[in-house]
Symmetry: C2
């Protein structure tokens, strides 16, 4: 009997795979999103266009119900910005850079200071305040390349982007420059969110690409450098926008199996891997369940979350509503680690469920999934469900080698997407949802 | 004791990984090979430049001994070629295409015929000879996308490239066009080797890209099409060239642990994934063993094989010499499936050794290796060692999703290489060799 179940399951999992490999629309849909809308920071006009786009996509995919969920989001705008370095002959040279997300700028004024380089936060903390006062501090911390999983390297580097501005402000520095959190071998700067400690002045924080960082580091061995920033970025209050939700009604009950990603992106590149991939994979699952005529017992719900990048409000609002309405989520899966070949899932759920998922390994392995990371959350947008209601959550884990070449940068474009890899991510999430629909 | 061994092993495997991730030179070396030499069909001038390059690389990497092994290779040249389609208004339109490797051309004359489309070899075989006579036959067979491992799709499609010319010649057709064996969504044609059945005339065989194939297929629904080929390709006898070999002498004995790839490539693109990746990864292993001061018990040998693409002579000659000289190879590994993130190894060896390798899974898994494919050969260049002397062979298996977008085409360029992925391939082969050096 157990064997018979497994055999039927493996037939169905192959059907899901074949349908998506042969007829999958995620790739063409992602092309549409990235090329006809492009980047879409929440709060922007482009994000509003993406909301309309996602609604239409979910309807076309065959969702029985599609609706919007109100989310109040912070509005951050970049505006014009320039960073210049005074060269030894006294001329100013433009440097390629990006202000970090949520950073305040210089309000259109020039802010200038001598550059102070440190290679780590520890080195910075050892400096007396008078060594930092009025300086521009350059955190020349390199992405730790020795971790095989690049998300571990990102985890170590994250604090340089998130928290150095307030550390420097506390000691009277003028602004902060970080070497981008990037595995890339190029000069492309990577943005991403930073936070202020409200006790200290909100000084600007910017990122430079790896080759500019190398150049500054080299020059500073022989001379003092002066840098000048002029930027107009900053927070512009809040705005009402929406997450987009679509679902296929369950045949048996209204318990929910959720899959999603975030609809917003940073304001550079096209948000292709981060996270147009997750959005189009999730919508593809609705199309596939409908196309194959799967009679799902429970509700299959897709959520395109608002504001993951610079506020994480979409996920918080969703969990709050779900709790208030007494909704029961059997599982929530998020795809927000790029549209690369899948390798596994994070699993945060009780041990009995973890053991059951792991018992499906032989079903998953033909599709590239072999590893389960126990106890790690599923993603920024679905982890609030786990915190609020103990919802089982899972994060789709693709191969991580290329992600931080692209992440939050002008390089995150549709051209970096491979159709088969993108499809495989949709396949394994659809398969996981199918098994949960059968057995939970 | 077993635990202690494993613990030391895992420390050493991490050291190998860190050394290559931080200081690895494969990526820069591959840039040099692809950009300063480029494609390098064996028999060409470029291949001779690659031989000199590989010798120098092995010396610089620290090999104790470097030498050349003579290999007589077939010489195939492309020359000028054009393929035209007569449009409905009577004008001739150029089509993008490539003659298949080892194909004869039209000797500079126009060869023209009406196009006959078949979707499979079975469909072709059912046709009477008089339906084929004087026709140009278009095999419109699509790459089978439903296999998760693209090498399985390639395995099914291979016969269309290799054997259709003689099938068509037998029935009196003029030449053959195939839809490229390509997962790509573009118009790039993919070449690759074909073979003639000596009983039939050697008619030309060419490949068109997927979008041109779509276009022809579409047009043929409404009209008869005439195509005209003019090409100068063909076999030009044989030439003496070389495989390149380098090694680190074993401390204990002269048994050999071999790693390699093929130095030749097709005459389009840059041979970056196929197989500059395997060459530079293999050379990197010499550098790493030397840099880490590993006192290898057995000889660590790198072989850059000649003529994998259009004759496979390098591997045959190597095995013949090894046998004649009574050399004992403990293991031969080949990397010839692209420089992508590794996932496993094929293993062709006795069951005791297979079981031992599989017992190392927990050592390999942190580096992305989780799967072993038993009984499948290691690669075109090392399988002769297995056939001739029962040498244990292993093929490095990277993620396969992107390989057939690039394979044998103008798209196989250095820009498609990710440094971390390339390094990981070198890492897991070096680790495998280290363990074999310890325990075999």
């Amino acid at each position: 009997m157990a064997f018979s179940q497994n055999s039927n399951d493996s037939v169905m999992l192959k059907k899901i795979s074949d349908e998506i490999m042969l007829n999958g629309e995620a790739y063409e849909n992602l092309k549409d999103l990235t090329k006809n809308i492009g980047h879409r920071l929440s709060g922007s006009e482009n994000y509003e266009r993406a909301v309309v786009w996602a609604e239409n996509q979910l309807v076309q995919a065959g969702a029985d119900k599609v609706w919007l969920q109100e989310v109040m989001v912070p509005v951050w705008e970049r505006g014009e910005e320039s960073l210049k370095m005074k060269t030894s002959n006294g001329e100013w040279k433009d440097l390629r850079f990006l202000s970090l997300g949520n950073s305040e700028g210089t309000a259109g004024k020039d802010v200038e200071g001598e550059l102070l380089r440190v290679s780590s936060i520890d080195e910075f903390k050892a400096l007396p305040a008078n060594a930092v006062k009025d300086k521009v501090v350059f955190f020349d911390y390199h992405f730790p390349q020795t971790f095989v999983n690049t998300f571990q390297g990102y985890g170590e580097a994250f604090v340089y982007r998130a928290h150095t501005a307030s550390l420097v402000a506390e000691k009277g520095g003028k602004f902060v420059i970080i070497r981008s959190i990037s595995t890339g071998l190029d000069d492309v700067p990577h943005t991403g969110t930073m936070r202020y400690d409200e006790r200290f002045p909100k000084i600007p924080a910017v990122a430079i690409g790896n080759t500019t960082a190398d150049e500054l580091s080299q020059l500073m061995q022989n001379e003092k450098l002066t840098l000048k920033l002029n930027s107009n970025c900053g927070m512009r209050g809040e705005k009402l926008t929406h997450s987009v939700i679509g679902e296929i009604t369950g045949r048996k009950d209204d318990k929910i199996i959720l899959v999603g990603g975030h609809l917003d992106s940073w304001d550079v590149g096209e948000g292709a891997h981060d996270d147009g991939a997750g959005i189009t994979q999730s919508i593809e699952i609705i199309r596939t369940f409908k196309q194959l005529g799967i009679q799902n017992n429970h509700t299959i719900r897709v959520v395109c979350f608002a504001n993951e990048e610079n506020g994480a409000r979409g996920g918080e609002v969703y969990a709050k509503h779900a709790k208030a309405n007494g909704e029961i989520h059997l599982l929530a899966i998020e795809s927000d680690a790029g549209g690369f070949s899948p390798r596994g899932f994070t699993l945060k759920m009780d041990q009995r469920k973890i053991n059951q998922v792991k018992s499906w390994t032989s079903l998953f392995q033909p599709f590239g999934v072999y590893e389960f990371y126990e106890g790690r959350g599923g993603g920024v947008d679905i982890d609030p469900l786990n915190r609020e209601m103990n919802t089982p959550v899972a994060g789709m884990i693709p191969d991580s080698q290329r992600y931080f070449d692209l992440h939050h940068s002008a390089n995150d474009t549709f051209e970096k997407i491979n159709k088969r890899e993108l499809n495989l991510g949709a396949i394994i999430m659809a398969q996981f949802m199918y098994l949960v629909d059968q057995y939970w």
